[in-house]
C-alpha cells in the first residue's frame, strides 16, 4: 500500500503543473503545424516532439547525471549543440546539396545576399532597445538570416537559454516566407520592375565550381576567423560535391550523416524549450523581433535589387533581392511566384537562387561578426 502510494506520487498525473501542460499544448500545436501544414517538417517534427518529451512532468530526458546515475538521453545528445558540433556538420550537408552555379555565373547577386543581412543588424538594435544583452540581441538578430543551423549555432554559443525560442521562431518564419515576403515585395517594386526578364545565365565550368569553395573560404576565413566553423564546413561539403572524386563523401554528408544529425539536432533544440525558459515575455519579444527581422531583410534585399536594376540599366529584376534572406529554396520560389503574377512567362527561379545561396554565406558571415565582436 505504501509502495502503491509512493508509485502514485511518482506518476506524471500527480506532479502535473500548469506550465508543463501549456508547453505540451504548444508542442502539440507545433507538431500539428509541422505535419498538417508542412512547416519545415524535417525540423519541426523532431523539435516539437523533443519539446513534448521534456515537458512531461518528471520527464527524465534532460536529467543531469547525479549520484553515479547517468543523465537523460537528450542531455547527452544536447552536447552536440552545446559544443557546437551539429550545426557545422549540418552545414557540410547543405554545402554538398547546394549548387552555387547561379551565384558563380552572376556574382553581383552576392550583393543582394549581403543587403538582406541588414535585417539582422536592425533587429539586433531592436533587441537591444527591448533590454536584451548584446549577446542575446545578436542571437535574436540572426533569426533574420533565415538559416536554421546558423541561428542555432550562434545562440548555442552566445545565449543558450534563448536557443529554444530562437530556433522555433527561425524555423516557423522560414515556413511562413510565402506569406511574409510577397506583400513587402509588391509594396517596394513597380510593376515595370517586376516584369523585367533577366538575361540567361552563362554555363559555369567545372574548374570554376571547384575553385569557388576554395576562394570563398580563403577570403572569408582570412577576414573573419570566427566564421570558419560554419563557412569552412559549408565549403568543404560543396567541394565534396563539385570536385568529382569524392562522391561517396558528398553523398554521406547529404544523407546518412545529415539525417542522423537532423534528428539529434531537432530533438535537442526542442529539449531546450522547457517551460522555465520558454513561457516568458522574452519568447514573445523574440517572436515579434523575428518577424521584424524577416521583413526588414526582405525589404533591404529588394531595395538593393532596385539599386542593381538602376546600375545595370534595368537588367536585374529587383524581386530576386528578396531571395537574399536565404530560407533556401523557399524564398527563391516566392520570387518566381510573385514575378509570374505580372508576367506569366517570366521565370525567375534560377536567378533568385543566386542571392538565395549568397544569403547563406552572408548570414554565416554575420554570425562570425557577432562571435568576433561581442
Amino acid at each position: 500500500m505504501d509502495k502503491f502510494l509512493h508509485f502514485i506520487s511518482q506518476t506524471g498525473f500527480a506532479n502535473i503543473e500548469l506550465s508543463s501542460l501549456v508547453m505540451m499544448v504548444i508542442a502539440l500545436f507545433l507538431l500539428y503545424l509541422g505535419i498538417a501544414k508542412k512547416y519545415e517538417p524535417l525540423l519541426l517534427v523532431p523539435i516539437s516532439f523533443g519539446m513534448l518529451l521534456v515537458n512531461f512532468p518528471l520527464s527524465p530526458l534532460m536529467a543531469l547525471p547525479e549520484n553515479g546515475q547517468p543523465g537523460g538521453l537528450l542531455h547527452y545528445l544536447y552536447l552536440g549543440i552545446e559544443l557546437g558540433i551539429y550545426p557545422p556538420l549540418i552545414f557540410m550537408g547543405i554545402g554538398a546539396l547546394t549548387d552555387f552555379s547561379p551565384l558563380i555565373s552572376n556574382p553581383k547577386t552576392l550583393l543582394l545576399g549581403a543587403a538582406a543581412q541588414v535585417g539582422i543588424f536592425c533587429t539586433f538594435l531592436g533587441a537591444l532597445a527591448l533590454g536584451f544583452t548584446t549577446m542575446e540581441a545578436g542571437s535574436i538578430g540572426i533569426i533574420g538570416g533565415a538559416d536554421g543551423p546558423t541561428a542555432i549555432y550562434l545562440s548555442s554559443q552566445m545565449a543558450p537559454h534563448l536557443l529554444g525560442a530562437i530556433s522555433v521562431a527561425a524555423y516557423s518564419y522560414m515556413a511562413l516566407v510565402p506569406i511574409i515576403q510577397p506583400p513587402i515585395m509588391r509594396l517596394l517594386t513597380t510593376k515595370k520592375e517586376r516584369v523585367i526578364v533577366m538575361e540567361e545565365l552563362r554555363e559555369t565550368s567545372r574548374r570554376e565550381r571547384i575553385l569557388f569553395p576554395v576562394i570563398v573560404i580563403l577570403i572569408t576565413g582570412l577576414f573573419l576567423p570566427t566564421a570558419l566553423p560554419l563557412l569552412g564546413m559549408l565549403m568543404l561539403g560543396n567541394l565534396f560535391r563539385e570536385c568529382g572524386v569524392t562522391e561517396r563523401l558528398s553523398k554521406a554528408s547529404q544523407n546518412e550523416l545529415n539525417n542522423i544529425i537532423v534528428i539529434f539536432l531537432g530533438l535537442t533544440v526542442g529539449a531546450k524549450c522547457s517551460a522555465y525558459y520558454f513561457l516568458t515575455v522574452e519568447t514573445i519579444q523574440i517572436i515579434v523581433l523575428g518577424l521584424v527581422a524577416f521583413a526588414i531583410g526582405t525589404a533591404t534585399g529588394v531595395l538593393m535589387g532596385k539599386v542593381l536594376c538602376k546600375a545595370t540599366g534595368g537588367k536585374v529584376n529587383p524581386l530576386i533581392g528578396a531571395a537574399g534572406v536565404s530560407a533556401v529554396p523557399m524564398s527563391a520560389r516566392v520570387c518566381q511566384t510573385v514575378g509570374q503574377e505580372d508576367n506569366r512567362s517570366n521565370f525567375l527561379l534560377m536567378f533568385a537562387m543566386g542571392p538565395n545561396v549568397g544569403g547563406v554565406i552572408g548570414s554565416a558571415i554575420a554570425a562570425g561578426i557577432f562571435l568576433a565582436v561581442l
Binding site: 553581383k108 552576392l110 568529382g244 562522391e247
Partner: protein
C-alpha cells in the same frame, strides 16, 4: 535600460554599422573575385598556349604524345581471355577500360571500346555491370563506372 539609451550603452549603432560594413565588404570582394574567375582561367589556359615551347608545355602536344605513346605500347587494355565469374573481378578488369573514356559516358561508347579491345562478351558484361550497380546512371542516358575502391 531600454530604448535608445540601451542601444547607446551597448555601443549598438557602431556595432550594427560595423556588421553591415563587414558583410558588404567581404561579399563585394568575393563578388569581384568570382566575377573575374572565368577570365583568369581563360587567360591561364591561353597563356600556356602562347608562351614559347621552352617555358611551358603545350597541352595538346602532351596529349598527343600520350596518345602516341599509348597507341605504341598499349593500344588495347589488358584482360584475361576467359571471363571470370565473380562480378568484382570483372569490374576490376573493366575499370581501366572505363577510365579511358570521359566520365560520364554513353553505354554505346563503352561497348565500342570493349569490342575494339577484344574484351570477351561485351554486351552481356555491360548488362551485368549495370545490374550490379557498377555502371550507374548519371542522367541524360549517360553512365558512370562506379567500382568501389577497396582501400581507404
Amino acid at each position: 535600460m531600454y530604448g535608445i539609451e540601451a542601444i547607446n550603452a551597448a555601443n549598438g549603432w557602431n556595432l550594427a554599422a560595423l556588421g553591415i560594413l563587414v558583410v558588404f565588404l567581404s561579399l563585394i570582394i568575393l563578388s569581384i573575385i568570382i566575377s573575374q574567375l572565368h577570365r583568369i582561367l581563360a587567360v591561364w589556359d591561353k597563356k600556356e598556349d602562347l608562351l614559347p615551347g621552352g617555358m611551358t608545355v603545350d597541352r595538346s602536344q602532351i596529349r598527343g604524345n600520350e596518345k602516341a605513346a599509348s597507341s605504341g605500347r598499349e593500344e588495347t587494355v589488358p584482360h584475361p581471355h576467359v571471363c571470370p565469374g565473380d562480378i568484382n573481378e570483372i569490374a576490376a578488369i573493366w575499370a581501366p577500360l572505363a577510365e579511358k573514356i570521359d566520365d560520364p559516358f554513353l553505354l554505346a561508347d563503352l561497348y565500342k571500346l570493349a569490342v575494339k579491345n577484344d574484351f570477351p562478351h561485351p554486351h552481356m558484361t555491360i548488362q551485368r555491370l549495370w545490374q550490379e550497380n557498377i555502371l550507374v546512371p548519371a542522367g541524360d542516358r549517360m553512365f558512370r563506372f562506379q567500382y568501389e575502391r577497396k582501400n581507404v
